[in-house]
Amino acid sequence: MEEFFHMGGYAAYVWTSYGLAAAVILALVWQSLCDWRRQSSLAAELEKAAGGRVRRAAAPAREDDR
Amino acid sequence: MTTSDLRLAAHDLACIRGGRLVFEGLSFELAAGHALVLTGANGAGKSSLLRQIAGLLEVTEGRIELQGGDPELGVAEQAHYVGHLDGLKPMMSVVETLRFWGGFLGGPAEAADAALDAMALAPLADLPVAYLSAGQKRRLSLARLAVAPRPLWLLDEPSVALDAASVARLKDFMSAHLAAGGLIVAATHLDLGLAMAAELRLTREMAS
């Protein structure tokens, strides 16, 4: 086991690589999910406040693509 | 604020802009609870006079003083100014804008909410300024008058871009300020129907 973590003397390089990859990927996942949650709760809040009167305007992107 | 004995006085004012004499020999006095409405043709110097009182433009000659005010403070620090430019940042929300100016001008923390109500901005509170129409932006710049109490209001065409309902609200807002002992100097073409208003007519002839 110790040999495994030792990585043939290159432990610092190998484990930094994997650690960095894990950190970047986790940060990306976390940020994406947070953004999704924030935007969808904002949208729900605004939709509730609008009470369905502005359904037309609530459609995302362009209207002419319908 | 004890505004009962406040008095805005201008003595023998002159204004030169870009080498051109805009006006000279201008004097007036304004007592607490009163408004002064500036009228006159374009270029007669209404905006220049307001900016001079606000300390934003050099007073070429004469002097302006606010008698009975805080002796520690200049006229500008006891005045609110609403000019042609709105001074708004598109990415800040309505309520953030009011909170910032409240904090910067030293107003009480709850004043931002009162300011929202004063110009009926509460439904727009969390919208970024970028989304507002011209009239809504104007209402926001006017709401700034309420974030920190200052006795003297200097308003340059405050009713521009406002609809009838907002103009009525502005009149109430201004009347309430006067009733509380404030002073208003406003340049406007619109009859604001203020009870305690005098008119100061600026003409080109004053320059000759």
């Binding site: 390089y13 990306l28 605004l46 992107a61 319908r66 | -």
Partner: protein, 250 residues
């Protein structure tokens, strides 16, 4: 079958349909991603031999190469979506292009950083200005510039148009990266790590590398879906707010 191809194309572009479809796809895609990445990691760290020349450092390859692959894939997705957005006015295309950029940028950064960590023990230097590394660095800047452009223009429709043009102009860099090793022999150090380009790879390494590449690719598309959904929501929020401003009087 009365729909033309273009109409059908646009029917799938309908955000509501996209939201429904992506919601159903997301759970199985996430599970598949986790399984593939887990298996890939197992083989990469435990169940593969060290390289006879590079020793244990070869294990860096299993994150480095898939990252570099995603850097290119991300840009390709972005450029392709930008082209579709410009030509067909496809409503989802600019959402797809915008959402791909941060993921691509993150993996480009990872490719550069892990490359650096691999280069130090192998070449004795953190960084070498060879053609491949330089062009990947330029790719990184392109991603950042693309995101900066999106952030600067407030109106999403105008921002999409400008960003699409930028993405397409920058797409030239993709073949440059691919063939940089061939084209700029003068700059390139022959003893570089990138001999991976050749077919000289042991089967024992091919399995973990393949699994990791597949896992990273799945991760890319999972994240891409999540970000696209968030972006669509962001636009819905924007529209709702604009509607609110309309209602709030003049």
């Amino acid at each position: 079958m009365s729909l033309t191809a273009a109409q059908r194309f646009h029917a799938y572009a309908n955000p509501a349909r996209f939201m429904a479809l992506s919601e159903r796809l997301l759970a199985p895609l996430s599970v598949l991603t986790l399984l593939t990445l887990g298996a890939g990691l197992w083989f990469a760290l435990f169940s593969s031999p060290p390289d006879y020349q590079q020793g244990e450092t070869v294990r860096i390859m299993y994150v480095h190469v898939p990252s570099a692959w995603l850097a290119m894939l991300g840009y390709s997705v972005m450029a392709l979506a930008s082209a579709v957005a410009l030509i067909f006015r496809h409503p989802l295309a600019d959402v797809a292009a915008k959402s791909a950029a941060p993921i691509g940028a993150a993996f480009t950064f990872l490719a550069l950083a892990t490359g650096s960590l691999w280069g130090k023990p192998m070449w004795g230097t953190w960084w070498e200005w060879d053609a491949r590394m330089t062009s990947v660095l330029i790719l990184f800047f392109l991603y950042l510039g693309y995101m900066a452009l999106w952030a600067t223009i407030e109106d999403p429709l105008r921002a999409a148009r400008a960003a699409a043009v930028l993405a397409l102009a920058g797409a030239i860099n993709i073949p440059v990266i691919r063939y940089s090793v061939v084209w700029w022999n003068t700059l390139h150090q022959p003893a570089s790590v990138f001999r991976m380009d050749g077919p000289t790879i042991a089967p024992s390494m091919l399995l973990p590398l393949g699994l990791m590449a597949a896992g990273f690719t799945l991760l890319f598309f999972t994240l891409h879906l999540v970000r696209m959904r968030a972006e669509i929501m962001r636009r819905r929020v924007r529209n709702l707010r604009l509607a609110r401003a309309d209602e709030g009087g003049l």
